[in-house]
Symmetry: C2
Subunit: 340 residues, 2 copies
């Protein structure tokens, strides 16, 4: 179903406000999810909203929390107090932005926070302030080690955002070869998956998407991608004091407190004349490196095209997702009445 983005945003905010989320927090959370839909990444879009509402109703997500901050130099330890992912994260990022302006850089390690969603959104936010962001997060174990037969790693996304005069460069990628969302999508459509995407529950390579859902996803880039995902798993756990590997829960379900970790490093690049021209000139040369018959993409190029088109046309939501959000926006839930 095609829904105008303004309508989708307004209705979604109301759904969150009905379960006790403050207007400003609801706006942040919805902006994050909507942005993913606009960029053509529905797996991180509004389809996640009903689960957030359920998590609030189930008492494993605290809609009023913004996180407890404890500075150690320019190292910010954050207890997310089970708040909304982007609410806790943005509160930490605001603090990091101020600290990095004064001290060059600052880092936040966050535990007890809910799902961050699309990391590019945070990178965009920092780039708009002229700041570099390196962001990473762990998640439930879905990815097998290279050579391994069962899920031991999160999809552990990594983002790097670099402000370039109004047109930032933003890398945002999972360290798995695909997302579990794409495998679910293939299973729903009855489509086969490529043989290198996943293993079944017995640890054997499979092209059966339904079998892959019970198994594990491959890391991207074979041994090197596995090594990077593993490094992020250890780094984040080490800094945030979060759970690791198969101990991570609460990123996919509606009933468990989320115990993964998030990491943000904000760097103030300072001012360097001609830097923007150097970097954007280079990126244009990269785009032109395919010869006359092939355009090379820079990360973010395609997403921005999709975004422009979706802003015009509206976003595509599954019928049942949109109905569920509308229903949630239309009535008080039992647990909110209890809270109120």
């Amino acid at each position: 179903m095609l829904v105008p983005s303004f309508t989708a945003a307004q209705t979604s905010c109301r759904a969150l406000e009905h379960v006790g989320v403050h207007m400003d927090s609801a706006a942040l959370q919805v902006d994050l999810l909507l942005e993913a839909d606009l960029r053509g990444r529905p797996s991180h879009g509004l389809m996640r909203l009903p689960r957030l509402v359920e998590r609030i109703c189930n008492g494993v997500l605290n809609p009023g929390a913004t996180g407890q901050h404890q500075w150690r130099g320019n190292f910010l330890e954050v207890d997310g107090q089970n708040g909304l992912g982007p609410v806790v994260a943005c509160s930490a990022l605001d603090a990091l932005a101020a600290a990095s302006r004064q001290h060059g850089l600052a880092l936040a390690a966050i535990r007890h926070n809910n799902h961050l969603g699309m990391l590019a959104w945070y990178a965009q936010r920092m780039a708009a302030q002229g700041l570099i962001l390196i962001a990473a997060s762990t998640s439930e174990a879905l990815v097998h080690p290279w050579g391994g037969r069962r899920a031991m790693l999160g999809t552990n996304p990594l983002a790097i955002g670099i402000p370039i005069a109004g047109k930032p460069f933003i890398l945002d990628m999972a360290t798995s070869v695909v997302s579990m969302g794409q495998i679910h999508d293939h299973a729903l459509r009855g489509q086969q998956i490529p043989a290198h995407w996943a293993l079944d529950a017995q640890g054997q390579a499979t092209t059966d998407a339904a079998a892959a859902r019970q198994g594990s996803i491959a890391p991207f880039g074979e041994a090197k991608g596995y090594a990077l995902g593993l490094a992020l798993e250890l780094l984040i756990t080490c800094l945030a004091g979060s759970a690791i590997g198969t101990d991570v829960v609460g990123t996919l379900d509606s009933t468990q407190v989320c115990n993964k970790g998030d990491l943000f490093i904000v760097i103030n690049p300072g001012e360097r004349p001609d830097l923007a021209r150097q970097l954007s000139g280079y990126l244009d040369a990269v785009r032109g490196s395919g010869g006359s018959d092939q355009t090379v993409s820079v990360p973010g190029d395609r997403a921005m095209q999709v975004r422009a088109s979706n802003l015009e046309s509206g976003i595509t939501l599954a019928d049942d997702v949109w109905r569920q959000i509308q229903r949630m926006a239309g009535r008080q839930t039992q647990s909110t009445e209890q809270q109120a």
Copy 2:
């Protein structure tokens, strides 16, 4: 030729001292190169020493420089003054170690520095002090963008080192699918290379190693590996004020001042009871995730096995490399006499 590591180290130090390198600096540089040979990575080993000596003789490497430091909060800007890679880097890392103990973390961006060599060596050094290191470096353009037909990116290695009670985890990987050294090696042996490794000078996929030497190497992990390498290229350039893409020179030749950039972030993880047990227990579970018939490697596992064996047996050096080093150790060069 098998050479005992002690003999290789002693002779190599003498070769550097003969061209004006201070004893301590020579020891650092040789320890770095030797460590690569010990770990079975000869492309980053003592085979690089003759070029360093040539660079000193040609006046593009300043054997006495340790780098000029300028702090901006906890952001250290370093002008490497064309010094030896590990000498400039270790001087910066010592400063970062002190700053990170006081402020939680610190960053150095270095320009005008020579080749860093194997990044794992730096990560090991920081881990021995209980500190986390994130390190990355640009290099001459050898890698084509995903979908591109010519070299636009350095092999841009990334290292992440995490101290774990005496047995650190160390990721150290190039963002290319292989090193140019491996392609040269295949060419020398007259062996074909796999079709996905490289393009020839016309931008066509090739299995001819000699043709690939004139062309470009593929990024690892297809589009995602390319995106990561590109992010590092931009990040380092942005922070270090170094050259970018095809403008980078001096990492492979003997005659040009090196204008790439290096980035180090040192983080003090603080103390968390039981962390070492949590992390090493997890890594053991990862090693065991291959089932009964397959061992899964954690980054560094194989290198450490090779190292133990090479420490016993000695390192393997190409005959002409070892003869060259011995010759350089045995006589004063003309340019040193001029310097003296």
